[in-house]
């Protein structure tokens, strides 16, 4: 596992953070991530992150649930063990609606939750590097990844100049739990949006 260096800048206000993100990106620094205590709408766009595909995954899981219910009940009642309920048709679709609906929702929810945990690499006992413990309380923590060309002192001064209250340099090991950050290519770098 490679140990990488990061310059960490902590911001206290959302408004300052937003303009700082724009300045950092337009100055050519490589933002590793921004850690915030709550969801901040628009920050993902400002960072140039692409929209998540979790919805699509949820839709596919839902369809799997629908298909499972219809095929399962259909097979049981028409081929495996057809029961005669007062001469009514074996393929009684309207009566299967409730279970089909419930399984659609069940598959979709469980699938999405597990996918969410997998993508964010969340699990019990997961060990991760926390750049600043106050990032889950009241600080907005911007982390810039150092490349061979980065001058740390210069970067720190730059961050302070754009409003960071607290600046430091940290070394962190990128492992499985930092997964996608191990790759050099960032998911947002090939999309030129939100830099207006």
């Amino acid at each position: 596992m490679a140990v990488k260096k990061f310059v960490v800048g902590c911001f206290e206000e959302e408004a300052v953070l937003f303009s700082a993100v724009k300045k950092v990106r337009s100055s050519g620094y490589k933002i590793h991530d921004v850690y915030t205590p709550m969801a901040i709408h628009g920050l993902d766009r400002a960072l140039g992150l692409r929209d998540t595909s979790l919805h699509t995954a949820g839709f596919i899981y839902g369809l799997t649930g629908t298909a499972t219910a219809l095929c399962g009940i259909g097979w049981v009642f028409t081929s495996d063990w057809p029961l005669n309920f007062g001469g009514k048709p074996h393929l009684a679709l309207p009566a299967w609606i409730p279970i089909t609906f419930e399984l659609t929702v069940l598959f979709s929810s469980i699938g999405m939750f597990l996918t969410f945990c997998y993508l964010c690499q969340l699990a019990p006992f997961a060990k991760k590097h926390h750049f600043n413990l106050r990032s889950t309380d009241d600080l907005f923590v911007m982390v810039i990844e150092c490349t061979p060309k980065t001058n740390e002192a210069e970067t720190m001064a730059f961050l302070q100049g754009i409003g960071a209250k607290e600046v430091n340099v940290q070394a962190a090991e990128t492992g499985w739990w930092l997964g996608r950050y191990d790759k050099d290519k960032k998911p947002f770098e090939h999309k030129e949006i939100a830099l207006r």
């Binding site: 709550m38 993902d44 992150l49 009684a92 409730p98 929702v105």
Partner: protein, 482 residues
């Protein structure tokens, strides 16, 4: 960003006082970090003792059979299905607050959603006990699950409302749990990062799944919450619809009416909001969260109570009208003799139901009464009593005098083990709720930070002069300008 911070002059803020993000964390997390109070211990031990009574009652029923309950031939469902429907109904308010109000972008839900969702999960757990132990031979309970088996390919009946219920309730429980827990993860991380004690760091570190608060994770988290809300909304409606199908697909007078699904769903939300009120009025006081769960929240929830109470009232009247209009002799007997007739053995229960559910909530048309904490608490208990009697009326008065007079059981009273089982579920519910309020944040910390606007410290400091002026000043200037 200033435009995002705009707050209406007319509407009061959702969080009172001047707060910054750190203060919010302090206020909500502090009760978790302190030692529990004497009051908490008293409440918790009381709940645990009720739970023990429940366990003894279940032991009796499992060892000696469900004959321990006074449910004879005609009243096959007695108290236990009443309690089942009552508990499952209570759960619905949590999902309504967390899911439906999220879709409608109602900001006030953030003050109450976490506790309400927890209440949903505990209520569904309590509800689940009744069908499970009513099975009698509970160790064969897995027979209801469809799986390839060696009993000669014996499948459950997928066309039966009771099997739909198995699917609906287990799905409802699972989805509610996932929704609640995914919302809890960031807040548990907040507690983890503040923790000084080793065991607390370990416990919350494990529970928070290693959450860091990365922007990409928040983006996915928001997407997950929104889709789960979208899935939970039809789900919660379907669950009580299917519970009402347990009755409505039968051929019993008083049960087989098409109005049941909407009527049950409205009743469920009604009783659920009452339970949320009961719990939160006490929680906000004990944990000093009055600035987060404000009188405004209580006011809004009382409006929901008067609305859903009136919907339920309309449903009662519609049922009576249809019973008369159908000119069906059995239907008329169920409604006009078994229920409306005060001199019939269980006629009184109908009047308790009517007065608690339809008449008494009407006091909430008055703003002053809606904002009165004592009255709210009192009314929330009354509503829950009323809603329990609604299910009792539907279940018992429809069957205790049925088609065959020789099988009439004139008077039905529950046995001590039926009562004990019911009290035991209260024990289970409150034991869980006490543990929840001790070890988990009762308010969604991250979500409250998200809606913090006018009351936020930074906002107040930087507020433009035009936003400081009052409505009167604005109206005055406006009239002069024209």
């Amino acid at each position: 960003m200033a435009s995002l911070k705009y707050e209406s002059q007319v509407r009061p803020p959702l969080v009172e006082g001047t707060k910054d993000y750190h203060q919010i964390t302090e206020d909500i997390v502090r009760p978790i970090e302190r030692n529990p109070s004497t009051l908490w211990w008293i409440g918790f031990l009381l709940a645990v003792s009720l739970l023990c009574f429940g366990i003894v009652s279940i032991y009796e029923v499992v060892v000696y059979g469900i004959g321990r309950w006074n449910i004879n031939k005609t009243i096959g469902w007695g108290w236990d299905i009443t309690n089942f429907v009552w508990w499952i109904g209570i759960g619905h308010a949590g999902t309504l607050i967390s899911a439906i109000l999220l879709l409608f972008r109602q900001g006030w839900r953030t003050g109450v959603n976490r506790a309400a969702e927890a209440m949903t999960i505990f209520a569904v757990m309590c509800a689940g006990q009744f069908p499970i132990w009513h099975m009698g031979r509970v160790w064969l309970g897995f027979f209801v699950l469809p799986y390839p088996n060696t009993r000669g390919a014996l499948w459950p009946n997928f066309n039966s409302a009771l099997l739909w219920d198995v699917f609906a309730i287990s799905t409802y429980f699972t989805v509610s749990l996932l929704f609640w827990y995914s919302g809890l993860i960031p807040d548990l991380a907040t507690i983890r990062d503040r923790a000084r004690l080793k065991w607390r760091k370990f416990m919350y570190g494990t529970l928070s799944f290693g959450w860091t608060g990365s922007t990409k994770h928040w983006q996915r988290h928001e997407a997950l919450s929104l889709v789960l809300a979208g899935l939970s909304t039809p789900l919660v409606l379907s669950v009580h619809t299917i519970v009402s199908f347990d009755f409505a697909t039968s051929v019993i007078p008083g049960w087989h009416t098409t109005i049941f699904p909407p009527y049950f769903v409205a009743g469920a939300i009604f009783s659920g909001f009452a339970m949320v009120q009961s719990l939160l009025v006490i929680t906000r006081k004990v944990l000093h969260l009055e600035e987060y769960i404000t009188v405004e929240h209580i006011d809004v929830m009382n409006k929901v109570i008067v609305l859903t109470g009136s919907i339920v009232g309309c449903a009662y009247l519609t049922e009576l009208f249809v019973a008369w209009y159908s000119q069906n002799r059995f239907e008329s007997w169920a409604f006009f003799h078994n229920r409306l007739d005060l001199s019939s053995p269980l006629g009184w229960s109908y009047y308790i139901m009517m007065s608690c559910n339809v008449l008494s909530p009407q006091i909430f048309w008055f703003r002053k009464l809606r904002r009165n904490i004592t009255i709210t608490f009192f009314m929330s208990v009354i509503v829950n009593i009323g809603m329990w009697f609604e299910r009792f009326v539907i279940i018992v008065t429809s069957v205790y005098r049925d088609f065959l007079p020789s099988s009439w059981s004139t008077y039905y009273t529950p046995s001590i083990w039926e009562l004990g089982f019911y009290l035991g579920t209260f024990g289970l519910f409150f034991t869980c709720y006490f543990l929840f309020s001790k070890f988990f944040p009762v308010i969604a910390v991250a979500e409250i930070k998200h809606i913090l606007k006018k009351s936020g410290k930074y906002y107040k400091e930087k507020m433009g002069p035009e936003e400081k002026e009052s409505v009167e000043e604005f109206a005055h200037e406006f009239s002069h300008a024209h």
